[in-house]
């Protein structure tokens, strides 16, 4: 999952970047409104965290521009001044949730995960597809109630595929969402990772959860359980 973080305070930006990376997200940072706007326009993100009080261009203007251009990734706004008017203006501009500074990392992570789920149509933090269960909060995957150990990249790929279950995801798109911008896109690392993932969650080739569509990409084939 790729997150764009626009925050002008260097210490807070570094901490948030570290915290979000630890939590398994790919984090790109921008330190002012213009740079943030550019990154959001040019690269693919699953979510943006935008501080409202930014130099060069206010957070609200950045959000408005993105939304005008049809960018529909969820946006979480950070505001230092907890003036209600500002929150309302941010939400009206197109943000989806707000956090008032200072906040705890746990709460920020919980809100980000909730927004990601919501944007892909899930309403619970546990994603159930037949025998496979992915817990976004614990970042744990289990098959038939058996915990499966996996690397961060494997988890990211699986999470992305499950969140977009039923959709065809190209290798390029998968690469964009799980790696930093400067990743070497020619490598066949994705194929290797998907192969390993298949072995881990379906060692007996029983459920065939990840389909390969030649020349087009991958698709998570198991349908979602109806939610309680």
């Amino acid at each position: 999952m790729r997150i764009l973080l626009i925050e002008d305070e260097p210490a807070l930006r570094q901490q948030l970047q570290a915290g979000l990376s630890d939590a398994g997200f790919i984090v790109e940072c921008a330190e002012d409104g213009k740079e943030g706007l550019f990154q959001g326009q040019e690269y693919v993100f699953d979510l943006a965290v935008v501080d409202l009080g930014l130099p060069k261009m206010s957070g609200i203007e950045v959000i408005q521009s993105w939304r005008k251009q049809g960018k529909d990734f969820p946006i979480l706004i950070l505001t230092a001044r907890d003036r209600w008017q500002e929150k309302v203006e941010g939400l009206e501009a197109g943000a989806d949730d707000y956090m008032v500074k200072p906040f705890s990392q746990e709460e920020l992570l919980a809100r980000i995960r909730a927004l990601l789920r919501r944007s892909s149509g899930w309403s619970q933090s546990q994603l159930n597809c037949g025998p496979i269960r992915l817990d976004m909060t614990a970042q744990a995957v289990s098959v038939n109630e058996q915990l499966v150990e996996m690397t961060a990249y494997e988890y990211r790929i699986l999470e992305f595929l499950i969140l977009h279950a039923g959709e065809v995801i190209s290798k390029t798109k998968l690469t964009e969402h799980i790696y930093h911008q400067d990743f070497d896109r020619d490598s066949n690392v994705i194929e290797v990772l998907v192969g390993r993932l298949r072995k881990k969650i379906d060692p007996d080739n029983e459920y065939k959860p990840i389909e390969t569509l030649r020349g087009r990409g991958y698709r998570f084939a198991l349908s979602r359980d109806t939610e309680a």
Partner: protein
């Protein structure tokens, strides 16, 4: 005595006007009377000279003869109002034909060659006369002097009529002049005090929020006052803005370091991290609380009004978006004419905190309503959540207290609302919602200017 300026001026001027015109009237009346009397005297004197000229003393018979015709025809026609009589040793020796049948009063004797003018009543007191007496003496052939006293009488009623008609016209004109002057004065006062009245209406407009400051085009005498008021209004506004900005900047600059500290503790996982986090959370609450409390503009001299419905609709729409998963229904029952008697920022803060709270606790239903009741604006926000236990209600309204530490911003939100409401001279109540079963937050804001 707190009399209006208009009444003071009108009263003082009226009293002076009455005294002045009254004295003028008296003086004129007196002068006219004197001069009328003088002219009567002079005319009587003329008659006596004419009579003297017409008199002829016979030295032999020692009799006084009055030649006909008499010098004034009125002396010949009976009861004409002009009479003459001649005394010698207190006996009437001659009477003008006009005095036939009248008993005329007699004047006292005077020395030869001297005059006596007096006003005298007749013996029956029915009529009064001006009487002028003069004594003259003739000698008989032996050189013995005989003195005669000439008296001419003028009926007083004619003079009285003359004076009366003069008085009527004099006082009539004076009263008319008084009325005219009083009216003119009232108009002049009205016109002169008009700028003062427009200052008052101007101030009312400023109070009602229809104007920012007083007009500039006032007369010199009160321009100092109005400019002073304007300066005061401006400086008060500037000072308030500066104060609010300083506080906002202070809080702003404290919050980011607090966020850094807070985030730092999460990753460090130190042993006493929890305690530090708790302290940082307390600091955050203090900053939040003081910032919101200080920035509550409250009711100012510029009675600003904010339409209620649009602000609440914007907050509800925003919160609905954030809490879209919960599928909460939030009908708003507010007349679009309703106005909040204060600044938009304060309304956002109050309703934002209350509604955020409601969305946090509600299961499926929130209801917002507002109405006017006896000069009070009542805003009610109900939800179907767990409600607030009666024992905790007083506590959550206190500054910075939290009823439930696990829900961020709960207590401080309500205590901030309570603080803003009290700045407006209103009150806040927490009860159980009868319809929805959860909490019911009710705030009362007085519409009239109850300054705290």
């Amino acid at each position: 005595m707190n009399m209006s300026l208009n009444r003071r001026l009108l009263l003082a001027a009226s009293i002076i006007l009455f005294i002045f015109l009254g004295l003028t009237g008296l003086a004129l009346d007196n002068a006219f009377y004197r001069s009328a009397e003088q002219s009567v005297r002079e005319s009587l004197q003329g008659k006596i000279f004419a009579l003297l000229a017409a008199s002829d003393f016979n030295g032999d018979t020692e009799k006084l003869l009055i030649e006909e015709p008499l010098p004034d025809p009125r002396l010949s026609s009976p009861q004409s109002g002009l009479y003459a009589q001649i005394y010698a040793h207190n006996n009437v020796v001659w009477k003008s034909p006009s005095a036939v049948g009248l008993s005329l009063p007699a004047a006292n004797a005077v020395k030869i060659g001297s005059w006596k003018f007096q006003q005298i009543d007749s013996s029956d007191k029915k009529s009064a006369y001006f009487i002028l007496g003069f004594s003259a003496a003739w000698e008989n052939n032996q050189g013995k002097p005989f003195s005669f006293q000439f008296q001419v009488l003028e009926d007083f009623s004619k003079f009285e009529n003359q004076v009366g008609s003069f008085r009527n016209s004099l006082w009539g004109w004076l009263v008319a002049a008084t009325i005219f002057l009083l009216l003119a004065q009232a108009l002049v006062l009205r016109w002169s005090l008009k700028p003062l009245r427009s200052v008052a209406t101007d101030l009312d407009r400023v109070k009602a929020g229809e104007a920012d400051r007083l007009h500039e085009n006032y007369p010199d005498e009160i321009r100092g006052l109005t400019q002073g008021i304007n300066t005061f209004i401006d400086s008060e506004r500037n000072q308030r803005d500066r104060y609010r900005h300083t506080l906002a900047d202070l809080a702003h600059s404290l919050k980011t370091p607090l966020a850094v500290l807070n985030a730092g503790i999460d990753s460090s996982q130190a042993k006493d991290g929890a305690q530090m986090q708790e302290q940082i959370e307390r600091m955050r609450q203090i900053v939040d609380y003081q910032l919101q409390r200080a920035s509550a503009a409250g009711r100012t001299t510029m009675g600003v009004q904010t339409p209620l419905l649009p602000v609440i609709t914007r907050i509800v729409d925003s919160l609905q978006k954030v809490h879209v998963d919960q599928g909460i229904q939030c009908p708003i029952d507010i007349n679009e004419q309703l106005q909040f008697p204060g600044e938009q920022g304060d309304l956002f803060e109050m309703c934002g905190n209350l509604l955020e709270n409601a969305y946090k606790w509600a299961h499926k239903q929130i209801r917002v309503s507002a109405k006017l009741q006896q000069d009070m604006l009542l805003i009610r926000i109900e939800d179907d959540g767990p409600g607030i236990p009666e024992s905790q209600r007083a506590q959550v309204l206190q500054r910075g207290k939290r009823a439930d530490e696990t829900v961020t911003g709960f207590g401080i939100g309500l205590s901030v609302v309570n603080e803003i409401v009290s700045v407006y001279g209103g009150s806040m109540h927490i009860s159980d919602s009868k319809d929805l079963g959860g909490a019911c937050m009710l705030i009362n804001i007085p519409l009239t200017n109850v300054q705290t």
